[in-house]
Symmetry: C2
Amino acid sequence: MSDRDDSVETIQRELTAFARRSRAAAARMHPELSLVSFALLAHLEDQRGCRATDLADRFLLNKSTVSRQVADLERLGLVERRPDPHDQRARILHLTARGAAALTQVSGHRRAAFRERLADWDEADLARFAAYLLRYNTSWPSADGSSRV
Amino acid sequence: MSDRDDSVETIQRELTAFARRSRAAAARMHPELSLVSFALLAHLEDQRGCRATDLADRFLLNKSTVSRQVADLERLGLVERRPDPHDQRARILHLTARGAAALTQVSGHRRAAFRERLADWDEADLARFAAYLLRYNTSWPSADGSSRV
DNA sequence: TTAATCTAGTTGTACTCTACAGCTAGATAG
DNA sequence: CTATCTAGCTGTAGAGTACAACTAGATTAA
């Protein structure tokens, strides 16, 4: 049972260390787009547009936070708001061409950094690591629209 | 080569998602101690005391940030500053008894949360996941005192 | 020894991210 | 039609962070 606890302890410690470093690293890598902005843009691309509320749910952010983030992104010309034909209160957010380009560029930087970090891993290890992370994140208690805290 | 890229992409996406959620989750789990404060205390325990500059280096934070964080922790009675006998400019930071207790408590919460998340993993997978994370973090380009950005 | 430089830490200032509360306007249920 | 609900925005406040300027002690060079 102690091996198991050791592993859990290591996983906790290393994931925490990673989380702690991420923001600073992301800020250094692309000062123009925070981790959250990046995630918002990525989700918009992924979903081909969605409402601000969806983003708030998805990312566990207050709707006021999303409102301001989106306003910034709109000011930067990366996102545009179109009225929702089915609900006059809502606006559907879409990536603009510039937004898509910015996302692509930042994604490229990130991907390059990760690829470099993982350059000397063999393929089987990569696949297993990816699978573990997926499995871990899938069990996230309060994301992806289910139980909110 | 495409499998490899897929894996890298997944690792990037899932680690990013994890990092994004961590702060909010940590704030919900123990509002009294931010992720950074927790990390600072943990490092102090680990090292049995160190200087503020060491913390700044370690965590890629500006020394002013560390100064304020430590001042807060001292105000909360979790940390104390003792003069460094070898350098009158420096102060060695130490956990107080209360600091150690707070750390233990928060660690316990975190550990419990992680243990629950990982409850249905078998031991071999846990060990491998832990090893992968360690390997990944060890190659972190600018932590642990080596190349700064 | 003395002056120049370096280092540890603090403080002033400013910006970003975030939450909560309260608001508006449109939507839906009774 | 009124009451309630929902999507989003704004006022306000607080935490975390960085950068620049500063103080005080340490180190190096002349």
